[in-house]
């Protein structure tokens, strides 16, 4: 007789069902688990006898491994050996394992880590050696994602410094131990990915990449160098991207929750969605996380740049491709420009490559310009500029070449104006009469640059109005090598003037002589200033209770540096000696003050400015006043020279200079072909086929996941279908009619059947 099977017995040969039961009640199913574990052990023994088999017995082992790893955390005493077994199999036999089983073991180990049976460092210490040694591409990919997700999850709540440190040390050791091996690329890849996802943002990760950039393997080197050149931009992009993806449409979800079947799960989902939306909102309002770029986190950039240059660029023994050599050169020049380093052999190295026939010469030109800063000695740069002028800029050379050369010279001179001499400049400026548009524009650019930074090198008729006036007035002054601009606040003299006027007004109102020096009155003035510390709390005297009033002999707080004052008193004197015209402060910011007549002596004014800056602390109210004064004084802002200066300032010092910038000028004059014009005109048109307005609207609605409205359905409904209802309506009793009408009114008030609950 065949016995009828119960539901439980039918499921007997099903690991998933047993797993489910075990999770419910681990103690009752302990013997069953033991039995399964024994089965696992037996299969494990069979497997160990011949790890490379691909026969069907492996399926069972795979299932058992999955089963045991899912419930291993419930029986820690039985399964103490289990993780180590898996690790051993993977480490010893990963090359011969059948790939399904291999992937399963990797997944099971990750699962065990998620269940806290093993810790992260064990997991990573297992995965990483396999990652760098396995010949299988799919396994590498799997391990790579696993390692990354593990690092990510263990750093999700708070930074796991200990784990990061061990992993970074492992990477460091890998790179240090064998500099020639290509295995280092994995350390580079993982670090870069972690950097991109903002898992690692510290100097230690940068240190790993530094070591990678200084290794001997070309792939590792380019990996490391690319990290420094592009990782920060990548990080920003990734951060922006993660903001817009998986947007939850809350209104839609609420609507669906109203219509679909109500279940606990649905309610939970809705709640979770609301929480994520809230979180995102919070994140959006939070101040942006400030991360330092990799180039700024570097220790000893001078040493790094020097070693990079001498080891990879200058060294002729290594057989790197031009591309990777250029990459390293780009990094070196970037470092030199950013940190204002001094590597003199770098400039003489460039000399060899500055010919129009050199491959990717525009890159070389760009890197040369990038490596220039105001601490580079002009006599080092002068031969380079001369060579560019000789090789590129001549009547005989092609117009693109000339434009690129002129542009490169301009980029160099922006950074170090002293690299130019008078005859060369005047010669180059003549190209503004060139017929080629690119060359002409480049030459004009050079001209306008020197009108600002070194007008006296130009011929008199080329100087322009601003520069000529400035030179005559002595406002424009050549800056000497190594000289720094005096730090100051833009428009501070306006504030000074305004304060003076205010004071005079007050004194006149009080009936005093405005020109007499009166200490007591000044004190009052100052106290008032302190009261107006905060702009928002206007006149709230309670606020100033927290501040300590320092009043002694009518003096206010003096924060002055004795060195500063000494310097400031010395500098004008020095200038007076050097310049033949009337002495004046150098900075260009003074040009704003052009409304001021040149006749007044500027020397005392300089002193007064420094007095205001050094003797008082500007309150927020002062700063606000300063801002308004600057805005009212905006006439100067419309001047073309000022606009140019603003554009120049807008270009961030951290932004790299690329070959495109150099090539840009040459592209100006080029005429576009007919096909290009057609393409350009067509570019903004998306659809090629014609569509009616209604069809477009409908499509738009469907794209939003909406169908027709109820109103629309009503309108489209077949007439015959409405007849029955209409007939019935006539036969209703008066009470029924009243009820329906009242119901209608009621619904109107509530705003529909379901009311306005959704909002």
């Amino acid at each position: 007789m065949k016995r009828k099977l119960g539901a439980l017995e039918k499921l007997e040969a099903d690991h998933a069902a047993l797993r489910f039961k075990i999770k419910r009640d681990p103690q009752s199913y302990r013997p069953d688990f033991e039995q399964q574990y024994q089965q696992y052990q037996t299969l494990h023994d069979i497997f160990i006898a011949d790890p490379s088999t691909t026969n069907s017995g492996l399926v069972a082992l795979k299932d058992l491994i999955e089963f045991v790893s899912h419930v291993a955390d419930l029986y820690p005493d039985i399964t103490s050996q289990f993780p180590q077994d898996l690790i051993d199999i993977l480490l010893k036999h990963h090359q011969v394992l059948e790939y399904d089983l291999r992937d399963k073991i990797v997944g099971s180990l990750a699962l065990l880590k998620n269940k806290d049976v093993i810790n992260s460092s064990t997991l990573l210490n297992t995965f990483f050696p396999i990652l760098i040694s396995t010949p299988s591409k799919s396994l590498r990919q799997l391990l790579f994602t696993r390692i990354l997700s593990d690092l990510r999850s263990s750093n999700a709540k708070a930074t796991n410094h200990r784990l990061n440190k061990t992993v970074q040390t492992a990477f460091f050791n890998l790179l240090e131990s064998d500099k020639t091996s290509p295995k280092g690329i994995w350390a580079v890849k993982l670090t870069r990915e972690c950097w991109k996802r903002q898992i690692w943002t510290d100097a230690r990760a940068v240190e790993v990449m530094r070591v990678a950039a200084l290794s001997d393997n070309e792939k590792t080197i380019t990996g490391g160098v690319r990290f420094f050149l592009g990782a920060d931009k990548e990080r920003e992009d990734a951060a922006e991207e993660s903001d817009d993806d998986n947007d939850v449409d809350m209104a839609k979800l609420r609507h669906q929750a109203g219509i679909n079947k109500k279940s606990k799960k649905k309610a939970r989902e809705l709640k979770n969605a609301a929480a994520t939306v809230k979180k995102k909102e919070k994140k959006k309002n939070a101040p942006p996380l400030l991360n330092f770029s990799a180039l700024h986190l570097l220790h000893d950039p001078q040493g790094f740049a020097e070693t990079l240059f001498s080891k990879h660029v200058q060294n002729t023994k290594n057989k790197f491709s031009l591309e990777s050599r250029l990459l390293v050169l780009q990094l070196v020049s970037r470092l030199v420009g950013l940190h204002k380093l001094t590597i003199l052999p770098l400039y003489s190295y460039f000399l060899k490559y500055l010919t129009p026939r050199q491959a990717s010469v525009t890159s070389f030109l760009a890197y040369l310009a990038q490596a220039t800063h105001d601490y580079v000695p002009p006599d080092v740069l002068e031969p380079l500029v001369q060579k560019i002028a000789n090789e590129f800029v001549s009547e005989a050379s092609a117009s693109e070449v000339a434009a690129a050369g002129l542009n490169a010279i301009r980029e160099i001179c922006v950074r170090q104006p002293l690299a130019m001499n008078e005859t060369l400049l005047q010669d180059l400026v003549m190209y503004r009469k060139s017929k080629d548009k690119g060359t002409m524009m480049a030459a004009k650019g050079l001209l306008s640059l020197y009108r600002e930074v070194g007008a006296d090198l130009l011929k008199k008729r080329d100087r322009g109005k601003d520069a000529t006036m400035g030179i005559r007035a002595g406002a424009i002054q050549e800056r000497r090598y190594g000289e720094e601009a005096i730090g100051e606040i833009e428009g501070i003299e306006l504030l000074e003037k305004w304060k003076e006027e205010e004071r005079r007004k007050k004194l006149e109102a009080a009936g005093l002589d405005p020109d007499a020096d009166n200490g007591d009155v000044e004190l009052d003035d100052d106290e008032e200033d302190w009261k107006k510390w905060d702009v928002e709390s206007d006149g709230d005297s309670d606020d100033s209770g927290g501040w300590i009033n320092v009043e002694s002999d009518g003096e206010d707080i003096q924060i002055s540096d004795s060195e500063d004052e000494k310097e400031k008193s010395q500098r004008p004197a020095k200038k007076a000696k050097l310049s033949s015209t009337t002495p004046a402060p150098g900075p260009a910011a003074d040009a704003q003050d052009s409304s001021k007549t040149a006749s007044t002596s500027l020397e005392p004014e300089t002193k007064s400015i420094s007095k205001l800056l050094t003797t008082t602390i500007l309150t927020p109210a002062d700063l606000k006043q300063l801002q308004t004064l600057r805005a009212t004084n905006a006439i100067t802002n419309t001047l073309p020279s000022h606009k140019r200066a603003q554009l120049l300032a807008a270009r961030h010092a951290d932004d790299p200079l690329t070959a495109e910038t150099i090539e840009l000028a040459a592209r100006l004059g080029r005429k576009s072909s007919k096909q290009d014009k057609i393409d350009m005109a067509k570019a903004d048109r998306e659809t090629t086929h014609h569509q009616s307005t209604t069809a477009k609207r409908k499509e738009k609605k469907e794209a939003e996941g909406k169908s027709t409205t109820n109103k629309e359905k009503e309108r489209k409904k077949n007439f015959l279908m409405t007849l029955g209802k209409a007939k019935g309506k006539n036969k209703r009793s008066l009470g029924d009619v009243k009820r329906t009408l009242l119901g209608h009114v009621e619904r109107r008030k509530r705003g529909g059947k379901r009311g306005n609950r959704g909002n």
Binding site: L8, E9, E12, A13, D14, H15, L18, K21, S28, Y29, P31, D32, E34, Q35, Q36, Q38, Q39, T42, L43, D45, I46, I48, A49, N55, S56, G57, A60
Partner: protein, 339 residues
């Protein structure tokens, strides 16, 4: 009539229009005809049997060994049946069509096969092999047997017992003395019978998921009895070397001869991974007695008590088992009792 309905009608008409046939013209193709022609530069025939003579028995056997991985269970069974008949029909003086060392590793994993027919056929095939060959592959066979005995499916568990019974009959001594053969098997039996070694609780545990009925338990106990008999009793002394006076000046010649067994020094474990207590080989009867006493005896005795109370077939099997334990352990020197 509106424009759309007219259009629809026209479309419908088009669907059912009969193609016109014309004499002397090729028949028009149906709307759903598929073009199966293809173009190729060359057509390569992958295999071509050029031999006129039938393949030898050896080749056929090798082919069928390869078919043991086939996904269809009928095919597997038939291949096994072919191998069985080839071996049984082989005259005993001739060597087997394929050596046992090839057949057994290929066949042994089918002990765990999902289909009952295949499993039964495997057992038949194994029984047809010469017992001396089985003895040298005991450890691998035993591993698979144990896997079958702990399998999730009840059928396979029963079948595992059958295989073990046969194995004990053919090579009992090797079974109990191979690596892991003694302790691991004992553990396996204990967990199958649900007799807990460490007396964790006096409370009876609920009959849990996937436990067998009493029939299976009887069978398990019977096999355990024969297993213990093989392990705890004196082995029959097989004197292969004839003890005669012909080699008079030499004494105890058999100890100096090369052993007939393969892998004589397996117990030294020269090449394998380090073994723990469970996986160790226990070649002496005394060793086995000691380990049995330490690990299993108490559990078996308590388990037997309950089983005897059950009476019936179960009680009889329990009595047999008790007898076997008692006889096997008579001469074991018990320190605990002496103290």
């Amino acid at each position: 009539m509106t424009a759309s309905s007219k259009k629809k009608k026209e479309n419908k008409k088009k669907d059912f229009q009969k193609p016109k046939l014309k004499v002397g013209k090729a028949r028009p193709k149906a709307a759903n005809s598929t073009d199966t022609s293809f173009r190729a530069k060359a057509i390569a025939l992958k295999q071509q049997a050029l031999s006129t003579s039938a393949p030898t028995l050896e080749a056929q056997c090798a082919h069928h060994l390869g078919l043991l991985n086939h996904k269809s269970d009928t095919q597997r069974k038939e291949s096994l049946a072919f191998l069985t008949s080839a071996i049984t029909s082989n005259p005993t003086t001739d060597p087997l069509p394929q050596p046992s060392s090839v057949i057994i590793p290929a066949v042994q994993r089918l002990i765990l096969d999902g289909s009952n027919n295949v499993r039964q056929q495997v057992l038949k095939l194994l029984q047809s092999l010469p017992p001396t060959d089985i003895a040298s592959h005991t450890d691998q066979l035993l591993l698979h047997t144990r896997a079958a005995m702990t399998h999730l499916a009840a059928e396979i568990r029963v079948f595992g017992l059958e295989v073990l019974e046969w194995l004990l009959g053919v090579a009992g001594d090797e079974v109990v003395s191979c690596a892991g053969g003694w302790v691991k098997m004992l553990k396996c039996f204990l967990s199958l019978l649900g007799w807990q070694n460490e007396a964790s609780g006096k409370w009876s545990t609920a009959k849990s998921y996937g436990k067998a009925d009493s029939k299976l338990q009887v069978k398990q106990m019977n096999v355990l009895t024969s297993f213990l008999r093989a392990g705890l009793f004196y082995a029959h002394v097989v004197s292969s070397v004839l003890v005669t006076d012909s080699n008079f000046p030499l004494w105890q010649t058999e100890h100096h001869m090369l052993s007939g067994r393969s892998n004589v020094y397996a117990h030294l474990n020269l090449f394998g991974a380090a073994r723990d207590e469970e996986a160790e080989m226990y070649e002496d009867r005394e060793d086995r007695q000691r380990v049995f006493h330490e690990r299993a005896e108490a559990a078996i005795i308590t388990g037997l008590e309950q089983a005897t109370k059950g009476g019936g077939e179960l009680g009889r099997a329990a009595a047999q088992l008790r007898k076997a334990v008692k006889e096997g352990m008579t001469d074991f020197y018990r320190e605990e009792i002496a103290l």
